[in-house]
């Protein structure tokens, strides 16, 4: 799946603050309306750069909320066109860096940020963007240094929320929760989207830590803010399945598997159906997911290597393919999750020797897997 690290951060749940927010269905309608209003002018050169950047960012936002890969692809395409039309404008390079990071093209994203910096962009804005890329890369030490400094100087909702997501991804659950609550107290907007995104990220953090009840609470909160929030629904299904609520999980996944162009939902559904003894149905969804993962890996290998590897390692039942993709993923980003995925792929292939010959130095460190902080 596309990098969640680049989704705009946000927050709320303290219970001490009664924020009045736009209903989630209105927020999504209006997001659609904004994009529909900007789309006709999308490639016209006489449209303001600010507006073209907004269009790109809104597409990326809708992609992350509704789980629409086509939106990310459109954003990527528009960002590239924008840079071609505005080679001397830092905002264009920022926009393209963001979409490149969405597709895990982190090196290219950093190159764009270097160009933006040379174009005299504000150093703090460049660092904020770089921090997000470093986070995606698993370069947590650098990401923390930047995020901490920015949040300390400007403890706004956005900056505290960004730090919370970094802590969440790095596995510092206690601090992530604290920052989450703190960021909520700074929220002044009426859009529920940033709040839903932050709750989603905290929910995923708890899920990865095996705290399924906490994960469920946050994922449900994300869906209360925005009922159509597809990744929250998908992860909630995963949690429900883990908790033994298979029917609920299938009910959550079915509509997503049918409508989404992201194969994760079909893959998850297939896995749950196997467990429920519905082999034939499972095969149907597995085949759909397999075809789609292959398509996506062919188009955007860096972005989908990790989730495709997960699929082939599990219900896809092709550990060799999984290992190839897990290695590719690890080569791009050295996050604890990338490491764990590679570890499992290697184990599944019973290929410890192959692993050592591939990278003897890294194999030595496998005896003590990292716990949260950067592997660099």
């Amino acid at each position: 799946m596309i990098a969640a690290a680049y989704a705009p951060p946000a927050a709320r749940t303290s219970g001490t603050i009664e924020a009045v927010l736009t209903h989630g269905t209105i927020a999504v309608r209006n997001l659609d309306a904004q994009i529909a209003g900007l789309e006709p002018d999308a490639t016209l050169c006489n449209v303001r750069i600010e507006e073209r950047v907004l269009h790109i960012d809104l597409l990326a936002l809708r992609g992350s909320i509704l789980g629409i890969i086509a939106d990310y692809e459109r954003a990527n395409e528009l960002a590239h066109a924008l840079v071609c039309d505005a080679v001397s404008d830092a905002a264009a390079f920022f926009a393209r860096a963001r979409t490149r990071a969405l597709f895990h093209r982190f090196g290219d994203a950093l190159d764009d940020l270097d160009v933006a910096e040379r174009l005299a962009a504000d150093a703090e804005i460049v660092n904020r963007e770089r921090a997000a890329v470093f986070q995606g890369l698993g370069r947590y030490v650098e990401a923390f240094a930047m995020r901490e400094e920015i949040a300390q100087r400007y403890p706004s909702f956005e900056n505290l929320g960004a730090l919370a997501t970094l802590c969440a991804e790095a596995g510092d659950t206690e601090r992530a929760s604290r920052l989450h609550a703190e960021s909520l107290r700074c929220y002044r907007g009426v859009s529920p989207l940033p709040l839903a995104i932050l709750d989603f990220q905290i929910g995923v953090m708890w899920m990865h830590n095996g705290e399924l009840d906490c994960a469920r609470d946050h994922l449900r909160a994300a869906r209360r803010y925005v009922p159509a929030y597809a990744p929250a629904q998908g992860h909630l299904a995963e949690v429900e399945a883990e908790l033994g609520n298979v029917e609920i999980a299938m009910g959550l996944l079915n509509p997503l598997a049918i409508t989404s162009d992201d194969p994760d939902y079909a893959a998850q559904l297939s896995r749950i159906l196997v467990g429920a003894g519905c082999a034939e149905d499972s095969r149907h969804w597995r085949q759909l997911a397999a075809v789609r993962y292959d398509e996506l890996v062919a188009l955007h290998a860096e972005a989908f290597a990790d989730h495709a590897a997960e699929f082939w390692l599990g219900v896809g039942a092709d550990p060799k393919k999984a290992l190839r993709l897990a290695r590719m993923n690890f080569a791009i980003r050295k996050t604890p999750r990338a490491y764990a995925l590679l570890f499992r792929a290697v184990a599944a292939n019973d290929a410890v020797n192959a692993w050592c010959s591939w990278n003897p130095e890294t194999s030595r460190s496998m005896t003590s897997p990292p716990n949260g902080r950067s592997m660099q």
């Binding site: 209006n30 309306a33 907007g189």
Partner: protein
Amino acid sequence: MSDHFSGPRALADPAADLIDLFAFPAPENPQRLVVVMDVFGKAGPSAVFSDAVIYRFRFRRASIAATGPNAAFAVDADELAFDFTFDVPSGTDVAYPRQPGHCRMPRGDTVSFDTNDEQGASGPGLRVFAGQRSEPFFLDVRMIEQTVATRQIAFRKVGADTLYGTNVLAIVLELEWAKLLDGGPMFAIVCETLRAGQRPVRIERLGRPEIKNVSMSFKMFDQVNRDLEIRDLYNSEDAFALMPDYLGAYRARLNANLSFWDSLDGKVDWLPDESGNHPLTNLLLADFLVVDVSRPFHETSYFEIEQAMLAGRPHATAGGRWLNEDVMDSIFTLYINGGNGPRISDGIDAPIAWSSKIFPYMAPPNPPKITVS
């Protein structure tokens, strides 16, 4: 743009992003005053009002306190507010849905209506409409940016309307001013969006056109606060009571930018006073539309009252702002040559559709997917 995308914070909540305010005596009935608030620029067909936002018109009685170089309005401390709120639409219509709305009048009466109903709804002394309409504003933003970048007037004979064929969400309030506004005949009017709740928080406010964008957004001429994105701060202020803490910052920004505009024709039409203040700064910081309903409706009346005050003569029109006025040309002429030269055109002379002189005044929404030619 008039107030389109007028600050970074507004971008997160398009339905709370105020883009225009109009105020004029009803062309066919001067006993009625019409105010129009537009939000959500470039709205796609599915756009609706937020259920978490209060859309407010504020009216205060006003009078002319001084004329000449120190021209100023006196504005009453008391005011009357009309609040519009909206529910979550229940239907499944993707485009132009009916969304229940409510107008709460100053004395607590409420008029309920559905959006996108051309007939609107009526209450004692008022009529309301809300829904999607054709964008009445027109301008060539790229040429404004080029003018600023090159420091030379870049407008072409025929420009490209940045907003051509786009739509907005509009709220139209037509009211019997004598009955509902406690006197008159001169009123100062602003509109606001506020986050609803026990203590509503102002998100945006709007009075005059192009204060936050053309007059305030450019930072490079401001030697006092060169790096300050001033608009969110300005947006959060009470239009009728600016905080003294930031007044200097707003004044510095306006002085700098207005002097830039004045310089574009190679002559000085607006001599600063001994403190360096541009003669328009104070009047523009009185950032509300002023309408004198005792004077006749006029199609090009924006800033006419203020210009008459500066010149020390009686004003001839109702002032305010009519929907069809080419207000960019009015503003550029005012800022660049102070009326001491030919009218300055930005090359766009009309919107895609003219507003009409009958309720709900604004033209119906344009079909989606119209592209700029």
